[in-house]
Structure formats: C-alpha cells, structure tokens
C-alpha cells in the first residue's frame, strides 16, 4: 500500500508541451537527451538505437495523433514515460499517412525487477484509448495538470 507504483516513472521534467519539433527523429532525440539529463538513462545512444529499431520494425503511431515509441535496454536506469506534445501534427513516418502530435516515449530496463512499474505503464497505455483522457492530453495547457492526470492512473 505505502509503495507508489508510479514513483519516478513520470516526472514534471519529462513533460513537454508546445514543442516546435516536427519529425520523428528530432522528437525521439530530444526526449532521449532529456531522459539522459534526468538520469533515467546511462547511455543515450544505445537507447536511441533501440527505440529507432523498434520503429523500423513497426511504427508505433497508433492513431488519434498518438505515437508510443519505446525501448527496452540495460541502459535504462529507471523505467520512465516521457510526454512530448507538438504545436502542430506531423507525419510520423515518410511512408505512411499517420499524423502525430502526442508522443509518449517509454523506457524499461531489460530485466525489470519492478512489476509495479510495468503495471503502471500498461495501465497508462490502456488509458490512451479513452477518448476523454486523450482530449485532455491534447488540449490541457498547464503541464502540472498533465502531470497530475498521468500520475492519477490507478493500477
């Protein structure tokens, strides 16, 4: 009970609204660098490659302006979800039409000892299918409110 499942998985420093970035590479680079700066990653290049590799297998844009790139590597120090919202929707890949404006980047260690973290991440992913929840993420202008919204997910 006392243990908070979402402890540190989401942090205010990892929520960025009003980004002017407009392509997948720049967005992923930006978030990965930020994750490194906030001590979620030991090595940003290794993690970046893992995320890009996953994108190349199957792009993670899932419709409704959302993409959830993710990577699972040993360089992840602490599981995390970062949120970046751009001012304008952009094409997630050159090949496909899918437009994206909300990017959730997820990082987990290869061997995760914490099931609770994983549970939290899976619950948050599910919530993204909830229209009302998505609408708030798209329109809310106060990053603190977004933080609270993401943090309020129950597992």
């Amino acid at each position: 009970m006392g243990e908070k499942s979402n402890q540190n998985v989401i942090s205010p420093e990892m929520i960025l609204l009003d980004s002017e970035l407009s392509n997948q590479d720049d967005v992923i680079h930006y978030i990965v660098d930020n994750a490194k700066a906030n001590h979620y990653l030991a090595d940003e290049d290794d993690f970046y490659q893992a995320v890009k590799k996953r994108e190349q297998e199957i792009p993670t844009a899932i419709g409704d302006l959302i993409a959830i790139p993710h990577g699972k590597t040993d360089t992840v120090q602490n599981p995390f979800i970062a949120y970046l919202r751009t001012n304008k929707a952009f094409r997630w890949t050159e090949e496909k039409e899918e437009m994206v404006q909300m990017v959730f980047l997820i990082g987990v260690p290869k061997e995760s000892e914490s099931q609770l973290h994983l549970k939290f991440i899976s619950q948050l992913s599910k919530k993204l299918l909830d229209e009302e929840f998505r609408e708030k993420l798209l329109t809310q202008t106060d990053p603190d409110k977004i933080y609270q919204q993401l943090n309020s997910i129950e597992i």
């Binding site: 996953r54 993670t60 899932i62 699972k72 994983l118 899976s122 992913s125 599910k126 299918l129």
Partner: protein, 104 residues
Amino acid sequence: MKIVAVTACPTGVAHTYMAQEAIEKECRKRGFEVKVETQGSMGVEGELEQFEVDEADAVILAVAIGIDGEERFEAKEAEGKVISVDPGEAIKHPAEVIDKAVNL
C-alpha cells in the same frame, strides 16, 4: 458470441496491453463474452484454459511475436476460427478486427 484472444508484441510494454483493452472494449460494446490473454513484460496474464478456447466462437491472435501455448489453438485453426492480426491493427481498428472474427 464468445471471443478469446491473445495479445503480444516484441517489447511487451505497451501494445500488448493496448490491444487487450481495444479488443475487450469493442466486445463489451457489442455484448460479447470476451477473455484476453496477454503475453508481455509481466509474463502471461489471463491465461486461457483449453476449455475456454474450445468454447469460443472465434480466436483472435493479435501477436507480433511467437507465443507460448500456440497448440491450444490448433483445433480452432483447423475449423478456420482463428484470425491473426498485428497488435497495432487491433488497437487502431478494433471494430474491423471483431467484424472479421464474427464473420469467420
């Protein structure tokens, strides 16, 4: 209508569970009975027993990797009651996926 499904993706952190949610949601909307087994980073959850598979009208395998216990679906496969889709497809177009399953 009774539907069972397995969802699994390479990393098993997000798509596995989103596909589960999308399938469950669409089935509930239609008043179908549904059970979804997830094979993700938290291991196997909601494991389907053989009798549950046997009782189902259709099986949806929303998987992008090899899964454990595939033999459970062999009989259904032989009856032509199994569809395989990418997890992303189940997330993006759950209605179409369920339509396909219903029309098997």
